[in-house]
Subunit: 405 residues, 2 copies
């Protein structure tokens, strides 16, 4: 008899047939004598439709009201699954974010969970009810509806697991686990039976869209073991856990890429204190996030400064920097949207030297030019020309011995 939290993503509840499939899984767990809390996303595509509708209503919809609108998506799936479970004679009850007491800060659209008061969830579980929670949403201390950002239902599930001390937290999605690389572009990719929280965070932030990064932070903080698996099969997926003895001894666990960023270079900038601040303050003031920054010293006290921003912010950032360049007397502002970021990740590289040189050598062999480099303790990322992205993933996957036998 266990206490289990299951989260089903948008593709798992995309229509009533799939919701019935979810109900069947939930029923089996419940009828085996387990207590169960189910956390749901909105139907696939609904969130995007809602955002489009909001932008028709207002070019810049107020975030508080957008959250009110967005919350209807999970409200709908939670009620529907509960209805289906009831029609199977299973006692179920839905709870919206504010009813499940998912208490957040006031940041509409990207709220952080402060705490979950699990009294009501536990009361329902003690009555042997199946508790169906609308994911992605919470409420602030004034009772305003907030949402947790893209993938926020993962965080709801992990946070509830921590609050009720669940025995396991299962994240059902449309992929059957975490892979060494995207299987769509790398046929030899393998599913990882286990991965550490730290690796998962690096890979999540690099574009492996399996789990919301904040949910992994939460899982790490409260040491909640998370099982990522597919709602369309019975196969075991990937366990996301703390480092442990059973882990496969891989130096690199995964190769990821993303094409979401663009690159901006200011050439022949005077290399003196205060210049970087003048370049980046207006960008920060505009709410634009900068990812990588590099600076190449040239002769004569001049330098080239390059950074990346998301493609969505690219035009605005270019405009800002053209003004900055004029003010500080830089030679030119050059933009490039045709870039990709390739990363290799693994806790194993903490104790291994030579990962970087192995990466650069493998790319060089294929004549792939490296435009920028950044590193963390367990990750190395290179910016390359966009057209080489898929090739680079396959080359590195091979080079680090990740190919399936």
């Amino acid at each position: 008899m266990s206490l289990i939290v299951q989260k089903y993503g948008g593709t798992s509840v995309a229509d009533l047939d799939r919701i019935r499939n979810v109900a069947g899984r939930v029923a089996r767990i419940y009828e085996a004598g387990n207590d169960i809390v189910v956390v749901l996303s909105a139907m696939a595509g609904v969130t995007d439709k809602i955002i489009a509708m909001a932008h028709q209503a207002s070019p810049n919809p107020p975030k508080r009201e957008l959250d009110v609108l967005l919350a209807t998506g999970e409200q709908t799936t939670a009620a529907l699954l509960t209805m289906v479970l009831n029609s199977m004679n299973l006692p179920a009850q839905s709870l919206l974010g504010f009813q499940a007491r998912v208490l957040t800060d006031h940041t509409y659209g990207n709220a952080r969970i402060h705490e979950i008061d699990a009294t009501r969830i536990q009361q329902l579980l003690s009555e042997r009810k199946i508790v169906v929670v609308a994911g992605f949403q919470g409420c602030d201390s004034n009772g305003n509806i907030t949402t947790l950002g893209r993938g926020g239902s993962d965080t709801t599930a992990v946070a509830i697991s921590a609050a009720i001390k669940a025995d396991s937290c299962e994240i059902y999605t449309d992929v059957d686990g975490v892979y060494t690389a995207d299987p769509n572009i790398c046929k030899t990719a393998r599913k990882l039976p286990r991965i550490t929280y730290d690796e998962m965070m690096e890979m999540a932030s690099l574009g492996a869209k399996v789990l919301q990064i904040r949910s992994v932070e939460f899982a790490k903080k409260y040491n909640v073991p998370v099982h990522v698996r597919s709602s369309f099969s019975e196969e075991e997926g990937t366990m996301v856990v703390n480092t442990d003895a059973e882990m496969e001894k891989l130096v690199v666990t995964g190769v990821t890429y993303n094409k979401k960023d663009a690159r901006i270079t200011l050439t022949r900038v005077q290399d003196k204190p205060g210049i970087a601040s003048r370049i980046f303050t207006p960008i920060a003031d505009a709410g634009i996030l900068v990812d990588m920054i590099i600076q190449n010293t040239r002769s004569e006290g001049l330098t080239d400064l390059t950074f990346t921003v998301s493609k969505a912010d690219f035009q605005q950032a270019m405009e800002i920097e053209r003004n900055v360049a004029e003010e500080i007397g830089a030679e030119a502002v050059i933009g490039d949207e045709n870039i990709a970021k390739i990363s290799v990740t693994g806790v194993g590289m903490r104790n291994h030297s030579g990962v970087a040189s192995k990466m650069f050598t493998a790319l060089a062999k294929e004549n792939i030019n490296i435009l920028m480099i950044s590193t963390s303790e367990i990750r190395i990322s290179c910016v390359i020309e966009e057209k080489y992205a898929e090739l680079a993933v396959r080359v590195l996957h091979s080079a680090f011995g990740l190919d399936r036998n």
Copy 2:
């Protein structure tokens, strides 16, 4: 400077263009210096779609969950109107039922408002915000979402008007007021400038779909003057008020009809105590509402007993009564779905005799047979063959001097 509550029905917010139209009206009121609370229904058709979806999920969807699902309709329009108002640089904020503290009993699907704690609404008004309230929904003392039944947004608007002591409560709908008869079938129908709460209640319960009957009860109890008008024109509509000196001195104010009922007769029932209870108890136990009941005494201690139920409950009621008839030894159960109920209503008839005979005479002149009769203090209703319904309305409208000159 007034405090105004406006309620817009489903056709007034059927799409974004119409919501923009509503925003324009709201803006004019606000910019003239008034404080304003706007209560919204769901987009026309959405509630029916939601109910259909629920029935796909479960043949008998649990009412608690149906309310969770239904509440998304008004949640959507409230957020969208607020966005549009914001895009016009007007300070607006939405409140859902639980946020507006519309506190109800526990009757899912048909909850009654216990009280409205208007603190938050008044706080927002004091900040000169436009308050946009999702109509139709409230919450019970445990924070469960409840809905107020068809037309419940009217009741939300009237209840809020009472709670904040609004100067006026305007109900915007797709008709431009209350007519002496349905203008679609009676070309000579006139719009009434004023009507009493009592008349409006009788007419609402008889099928004039202008206002939810409970909202009129509420308006009467708290003496809230309600202005029924169209959101598609600038014309004055109909004021629903207590009896007052200015009222036109009409004996009959309106002629209404509905075709929603069916008739069931048990023939040759033994006329003895306890029989009526055996006939109606199983009907009540099945949750079926009975409207009119008549009993004709025959010879030999036998009687025919006839009553009406809604067409939706007709088949079930017939089945129940066939069993009853067998048990109590009645001769037969005869059903008839081809009936209509025609009513004349008016507070004036309290002081006038002869209204009934005038009504019967007018119908007789056209050879319209009266199948059943029922009366209240300010209303007389006759059940007739369905095919004569429209004709009967026109005949009575004329007979009571309601035709437009």
